[in-house]
């Protein structure tokens, strides 16, 4: 009777195993994720073997021993136990589990060692602080802070030092390797490494409050040169030369209303303000607060009622600004580009 589900099941499985691009976990782009994917493959093949054995026996027995008119009054007198068989199906699973256990233990230690505080030599260390509901990335080397976009150099071991400012969050970048909880009062480390440049989705995996669903971020992996260039740009002041007149007016509005929480200078030293994302390089962000696509109309919508789009956010409404001021403000934040780095990134969720 379960026969009708088998084909469906198999199709799903084949789709899953063929590693089609939509399935991030099965499409690793770095050694940590690949190690986890190897374990996934090993376990799923062994488990499919187990499933096949059970399914075959199950349907065979159901068919063979179903009640039929001839067997209606038959009283089965089969054995109600068999030592040899029972030992067989105790020993075989133990063997299978040993096959799984060895790489599991190996990999557990390897992944942990790769992020260990003792082995940081030659690795890029980035401090991550999880907030309700955004991610803050602090590059110790250079003292740069970004929010919701994590830049990393390719082919370089990166250790993320993960903390939380409020509730428990969990940092997850499926394509670059696993996840690690951000727990207040505790510091965790996660090793990531990207093989190739690209933009990878990141998210919060642990329920952290109302806007848990929108606690997204992007990892932008760039070649070492591009990464250095970006870092230099972050350290310099925001570009001002392309500003239109209304954007310049918007800057004034921004200074008066937004600067008390949001910083627009990448350098960490100058940021000592509240619990709000750094907006440096905002023009490169694909979405406003990971929620709305980064368009002028959406910025106005967001300013009017942030809680409507991101429940639980701390940002208050700035409805009281005039329509013109909002427009100017939108234009200003959209002009926040980094010197020497042009235009929007190719990134976005669902790369």
């Amino acid at each position: 009777m379960y026969k009708r589900f088998l084909p469906v099941f198999l199709i799903f499985m084949i789709a899953a195993l063929s590693g089609c691009s939509g399935i991030d976990v099965l499409d690793p782009k770095g050694p940590a994720a690949r190690e986890e994917f190897d374990l996934f493959q090993l376990t799923i093949y062994l488990m499919l073997l187990v499933l096949a054995t059970v399914f075959i026996l199950f349907f065979y027995f159901l068919w063979k021993y179903r009640i039929t008119p001839e067997r209606k009054n038959h009283i089965p007198n089969g054995p109600s136990g068999n030592k040899k068989l029972e030992i067989t199906w105790t020993v075989i699973p133990i063997v299978i589990l040993i096959i799984i256990a060895i790489p599991t233990v190996k990999s557990t230690y390897h992944l942990s060692d790769a992020a260990d505080a003792k082995n940081l030599q030659g690795k890029t260390v980035i401090e991550v602080t999880a907030h309700q509901f955004w991610w803050e990335f602090h590059y110790l080397d250079g003292d740069i802070k970004t929010s919701d976009v994590l830049h990393i150099p390719t082919n370089q071991d990166v250790v993320l030092v993960i903390r939380s400012d409020d509730t428990i969050h969990s940092l997850w970048v499926p394509q670059l390797g696993g996840k690690m909880d951000a727990i207040p009062g505790k510091t965790n480390r996660l090793w990531v490494k990207a093989d190739e440049p690209g933009s990878y989705e990141g998210k919060c995996a642990e329920l952290c409050g109302a806007a848990h669903a929108y606690m997204l971020f992007t990892v932008k992996a760039e070649s070492k040169q591009d990464f250095q260039k970006w870092k230099q740009a972050m350290k310099q002041k925001e570009s001002g030369n392309q500003k239109t007149e209304s954007a310049a007016a918007g800057e004034k509005v921004f200074k008066k209303n937004c600067l008390s929480c949001h910083a627009v200078n990448g350098s960490g030293e100058t940021i000592s303000r509240g619990n709000a994302p750094n907006l440096t390089g905002f023009a490169d962000h694909d979405r406003i607060a990971s929620v709305l696509p980064n368009t002028k109309e959406n910025i106005v919508k967001w300013i009017n009622d942030p809680k409507k789009y991101k429940p639980g956010t701390e940002m208050p409404s700035f409805k009281h600004l005039s329509a013109k001021e909002k427009e100017e403000l939108a234009e200003h934040v959209q002009s926040l580009e980094l010197d020497g780095i042009s235009g929007k990134g190719d990134g976005g969720h669902g790369s």
């Binding site: 469906v8 399935i23 799923i44 089969g78 909880d181 109302a210 669903a213 929108y214 669902g350």
Partner: protein
């Protein structure tokens, strides 16, 4: 759609969702009162509310658990509608409102649906299976039920009284603390579970004593039916696991209500909650699955007409699973950062549970081998459990490989996994048990044709709902999100899942219809043994008389009744003479005492000192009252018994 008006200068708003809940509650109450009055059933209702008899309490558990099932299912459907489309805005269920639905769904389904429905079936079947007249402590049994009901009502009613819990059924600190979850929501959670938990703990003690002490002559431990065995082990698990929950909930309540900081990150440690919760929470999943294993063992051997293959190893496997269940809690915390040593140890201990589970699966398979398999609805549920549960089990092994779990953890893969084992194990087990024992409980059979329709709707809906979740998890969908972006490519699978959920909902409604239809037109169970049963409960009439066995039977082996059928004339040698039987009195105290617990909880939630202190005094008073009224009831004399047995033609 919100209703707003001003009353005595105060602005009052009823949001539309709460209004809808209010209206539906009011509607059901009115219908209930109307029906009771119309059919003159108030006295009949009173009889049920004050009963201390095990089978009636079992039916109460099934009814209340069934009602909560509808609530939990409704929550699930609301969640699935919200998730059906990317960036959906269904009604008001985004953000905190969604978290409320999701938390209530999980909490309700685990604590107020799966457990009580299983306990209901235990109440109905276990005393009969061991040849007992009732549970060891009938009053306590009633109290357990009412405490569960009070706790469940508390969590359920929170929605219309200012906010349900929002931190997930696992209520992780510090999210569940006042600082991040202000408002009363999580107080309902802590107090509701605490009160229900007392009831569950008392039930466990009751079943332990009953099974160890109330077996009829010849019913040695090694001859007990598997359902009774699993009840025994489950009770032990409850006895050891629930105190951890009690402590965890106390710490949470203290932090929330009295401003202590055991679980806050500043002065305390947020991980204390996770450890305590999972030291309870992991055994809890075996508390849910072992009784289902028992039901399947009984059902499969009955409908395959064979003694269970490997009885001894089946029992051994249950005990071993129960034991190992306590050794693996950290696998819920692989990403917490406890270090490679603890992750590796707990990965291996978790995997090892697959061995006894595997033993059970193959024993079930070989019970089928050589049998004469009848495909009754109860059996269909039991059979469909095997492939479903094995699919859930293999993903369990995959999750146990710690580094791989860094990818699956808290993703939809996990949601898929645990629904495959909990729905594919516990809920299928409950349906199987309901179809199986229904005639024993009510004296008529549930209709097979309609039952099979209901089964297929459920099975198809189930796989449509939960299979895609594994893929969604691998695609990077975290659990407990109320939405996802358009370009994440998750839309199609979520839509399939939602369609499946509605099929399951339809199936549950169809079950209610089947009960109604069978109640009017169902086949009466005249013999008391509609399935050609193998265990003691089928040797007495349906429904059983209030004393169950006029003379308790003498048991000669496993599958006692089958043995008598094969080797004798199908009747038991009595183990005792006809003698007067004591029937314990009905008692209204359990309901009142639980009602006081219920009211007192509000005192704590809303910080009304009078209610708190008053409630405490009343509870103490009730306990004193009880200790002076522990007598009464009546005896059925030997003559009366003989006459009643004559009339019924009972065995």
């Amino acid at each position: 759609m919100d209703l707003k008006y001003t009353l005595w200068g105060k602005k009052i708003t009823f949001p539309s969702d709460i209004l809808a809940a209010d209206m539906s509650i009011l509607l059901f109450l009115l219908i209930g009162v109307g029906l009771l009055t119309y059919f003159k059933k108030w006295k009949w209702l009173w009889g049920w509310l004050t009963t201390t008899h095990h089978s009636k309490i079992g039916i109460l558990y099934l009814t209340a658990g069934g009602a909560f099932f509808l609530r939990g299912g409704l929550d699930a459907l609301i969640m699935r509608v919200q998730l059906a489309l990317p960036e959906n805005q269904f009604w008001v269920f985004q953000g905190e409102k969604y978290n409320q639905m999701m938390t209530t769904h999980g909490t309700t389904m685990i604590f107020f649906v799966a457990m009580p429905l299983l306990i209901g079936l235990m109440n109905v079947a276990v005393p009969l299976q061991i040849g007992a007249r009732d549970l060891a402590f009938p009053y306590l049994n009633a109290l357990s039920f009412w405490l569960f009901f009070a706790g469940g009502s508390l969590v359920n009613i929170s929605f219309i009284l200012g906010g349900s819990p929002t931190a997930g059924w696992t209520a992780y600190a510090p999210l569940a603390l006042k600082e991040f979850s202000p408002g009363p929501g999580n107080d309902y959670y802590a107090l509701g579970l605490q009160i229900a938990g007392i009831g569950t703990l008392l039930t466990a003690i009751n079943f332990l004593v009953t099974i160890l002490n109330k077996r009829t002559k010849g019913m040695t431990l090694t001859r007990m039916p598997l359902f009774t065995w699993s009840t025994l082990v489950t009770s032990l698990l409850i006895l050891f696991a629930f105190p951890a929950l009690t402590v965890a909930l106390l710490l949470l309540s203290f932090d929330r209500l009295f401003g202590t900081s055991f679980l806050s990150a500043d002065a305390g440690n947020a991980l204390i909650w996770q450890h305590l919760f999972w030291i309870f929470g992991h055994p809890e999943v075996y508390i849910l699955i072992l009784p289902a294993f028992g039901i399947f063992s009984d059902v499969i051997s009955t409908f395959a007409k064979k003694k269970l293959f490997g009885y001894t190893s089946m029992v051994f496997a249950i005990v071993l699973i129960g034991f190992l269940g306590f050794m693996v809690w950290v696998h819920h915390m692989f990403t917490v950062g406890l270090g490679p040593a603890s992750n590796a140890i707990f990965a291996i201990s978790t995997m090892s549970i697959a061995v006894p589970t595997g033993i059970k699966v193959f024993n079930w398979l070989f019970t089928l081998k050589g049998g004469v398999i009848r495909f009754n609805t109860a059996m269909l549920y039991a059979l469909s459990f095997i492939p479903t549960f094995v699919m859930g089990g293999v993903t369990g092994v995959m999750l146990a490989a710690a580094p791989a779990d860094y990818q699956y953890h808290d993703s939809y893969f996990v949601v898929g996994h645990f629904h495959y084992v909990i729905v594919g194990g516990t809920i299928l087990g409950i349906f199987s048990g309901l179809y199986y024992w229904w005639p024993k409980m009510f004296g008529f059979l549930l209709d097979e044709k309609r039952g099979k329709w209901q089964f297929w709707l459920f099975a198809i809906g189930f796989h449509l709902t939960f299979f895609p979740m594994h893929i969604m998890g691998l695609m990077g969908m975290p659990r407990r999100v109320y939405t996802y972006l358009e370009d994440s490519g998750l839309g199609t699978l979520n839509m399939i899942s939602t369609i499946g959920a509605f099929l399951m909902g339809l199936s549950v409604l169809f079950f209610i219809y089947t009960v109604y239809w069978s109640c009017r037109n169902g086949v009466r169970d005249a013999s008391g043994d509609p399935w050609d049963g193998r265990t003691l409960e089928w040797a007495i009439p349906s429904p059983p008389p209030e004393y169950n066995f006029a003379r308790r039977p003498f048991v000669r082996g496993v599958d006692a009744f089958w043995k008598e059928k094969m080797e004798g004339d199908g009747t038991f040698q009595p183990a005792e003479k006809l003698k007067p039987i004591h029937i314990p009195p009905s008692n209204v105290q359990p309901m009142i005492l639980s009602g006081i617990f219920f009211m007192t909880a509000f005192g704590f939630i809303f910080d009304w000192n009078l209610v708190k202190i008053g409630g405490g005094i009343l509870i103490l008073g009730m306990l004193i009252w009880r200790s002076f009224t522990d007598k009464g009831g009546h005896f059925i004399t030997a003559e009366e018994l003989a006459e009643r047995e004559e009339r019924k033609g009972g065995r």
